[in-house]
Symmetry: C2
Subunit: 376 residues, 2 copies
Amino acid sequence: MKAVAIIAEYNPFHNGHLYQLKAAKEKTGADVVIALLSGNWVQRGEPAAFDKWQRTQLALAGGVDLVVELPFNYAVQPAHLFAEGGVKLAEALHATWLSFGAETPDLDYQKLIANQPDKNQFKQFDQTFATQYSDYLTKTTGITVNRSNDILFFSYANAKAQQGANIELVPIQRVGSDHQDTNLTTGAISSASAIRTAIQTLNKSELKKQLPMATYQLIDDVQMVTWKDFWPLLRYELVATPIAELKRIYQMTEGIEYRLKQVANQATSFEEFLRGVKTKRYTYTRIQRLCVYVLMHVYDSEMKIPSDYLRILGFNAVGQAYLNQEKKKLELPLITKVTDDLSKQELALDYRAGMLRQLVTNQQQDFYHHPLIKLS
Amino acid sequence: MKAVAIIAEYNPFHNGHLYQLKAAKEKTGADVVIALLSGNWVQRGEPAAFDKWQRTQLALAGGVDLVVELPFNYAVQPAHLFAEGGVKLAEALHATWLSFGAETPDLDYQKLIANQPDKNQFKQFDQTFATQYSDYLTKTTGITVNRSNDILFFSYANAKAQQGANIELVPIQRVGSDHQDTNLTTGAISSASAIRTAIQTLNKSELKKQLPMATYQLIDDVQMVTWKDFWPLLRYELVATPIAELKRIYQMTEGIEYRLKQVANQATSFEEFLRGVKTKRYTYTRIQRLCVYVLMHVYDSEMKIPSDYLRILGFNAVGQAYLNQEKKKLELPLITKVTDDLSKQELALDYRAGMLRQLVTNQQQDFYHHPLIKLS
């Protein structure tokens, strides 16, 4: 059995994901689809609208055979580190292919890789790092990489090259709306971001044709989690933490801790806070991720020396067969149950993210969740 | 002009306080009454039911001439450190007398001071420190010191001896109910603790004869703050902070951080949490203070090297005249306005306590409060 891996957030799983999954399977002829799924926080520095178990369920319902968690220390990171983790885990799971949506599936990533700059040179304080990086690439290669899925494509290619990975990259042309679009399309495929906005603003029934049935049922049953739920805790943390301690948080650089603290004292909502903190130097995404690190008490030591593992979130019969086929040959530890020791060490960040989530959802305390098993 | 100092919490100011104030003035013949008032957290490790400005107002209405803040690093401490700060500040303000209520005004404190043990010897883990200490004193001196105001009396005497202070101690026989009583008395003097309980459980009008008018009006206007208001923040902090970081908090000793974290994961109220954490080794008071340190992010460095100051919270014409008489001769800096620099350094803890309070009361952000002035 051969597997294709997909790195996903499924926040929530929608028709575009369904399309990509089928296309990846068709194009590769894979027997097994593995999703590497972000946990309770997503790459843009936001709480996942639905928790990792709910999203695992959607993935399994949508045809994914095996769901493995992309650990926090890769999932809540800029594109290059996100991609590094995804490629590493896909390779560790012995996937033959890594498939993903891209705006430009025929991107000349070899040329981009060959022309990479020294990243330390981007020190202009009136521009974001990403803009300076992208401008540099356009100038030296003539290729413009500034759309989110193309940036990820380039990052996957880069990570593959750096790791000497065997996995084959399979880009698939994105269809439907842009990743960042916040309006629903008239067709059946809208972006996850548009869907999240619609959940909060429209009558849910209007979303029926935009969503797979399982997702539609979930949004009907479960309240979406947003930054609004965590804002009182984040604000408290920023107000109560002395500057010298705030400075120790991962990615707290260039004195931004003063700005965060000052704005938190006055802001009355997360949106107001974000607007107050925003500068030309930092994207909203960068600031939001920093807020996650503050809220989660993330220090360098926990993020920079990851001890990799494969945490299984769910599978069906096909996924189980694949695990049985591969499990003795895997280089990384396979985790199906979080023990007390794991929760304090390797899995500390993922575990903490889960505990925090339970604080705001008032869910039953289900510390040591077993993988979800889909009986066909 | 000569002054008598009273170390107080006024939480809230009641008829017993009024009685003590008058008795102290009469007994000493003082021209000026100075109150050294705890800020937004009190000695038992609880949020002050009413904030320091509200309580200053009550004190001025009750006849206090000058209100000075007892800084957090003395106010939220066991009796010996609480007393150390109180005596130091009263002496620095050149008060001639220090007056306080006591269950046993003729306590032979000289004998107690002469028979003090090495405190490091009390290592029995099935008893609190206070019990072991008190048992030792009873055994060696025949004197029993186990009621809260007597313990403070002994602590004041001890602090005076250690500091070589000139201030004269003036104990006044306590009247009315015991400090710890939680039931209202039938007379006009009930304990502050009984009054706080009654505010939450009785019809407010039943409290009319138990309280000075200013206090009665306050409880009618303003919502009392309790641990219940801070519990979601404390719980978050305990859940989100890694053990290694929790261990750095002031007074986090003997591995109690594990216990706090574990119980916080499950408890659904502050009361349930306290009951879960309680052991024979720790009093509720000790645990509550520890919770304040966690919530406030208090580290050893901030508590152990206090830089003393005299923060003026309020005064009337008499208090002002006294300040004018003494201000050039004071050894400690007199602070009437919190500047940006002070809020980050000397006053960091008091300032943080104020900011935190505003988070839960949603009061207007009034960072740099001036002293309250009572025009007679």
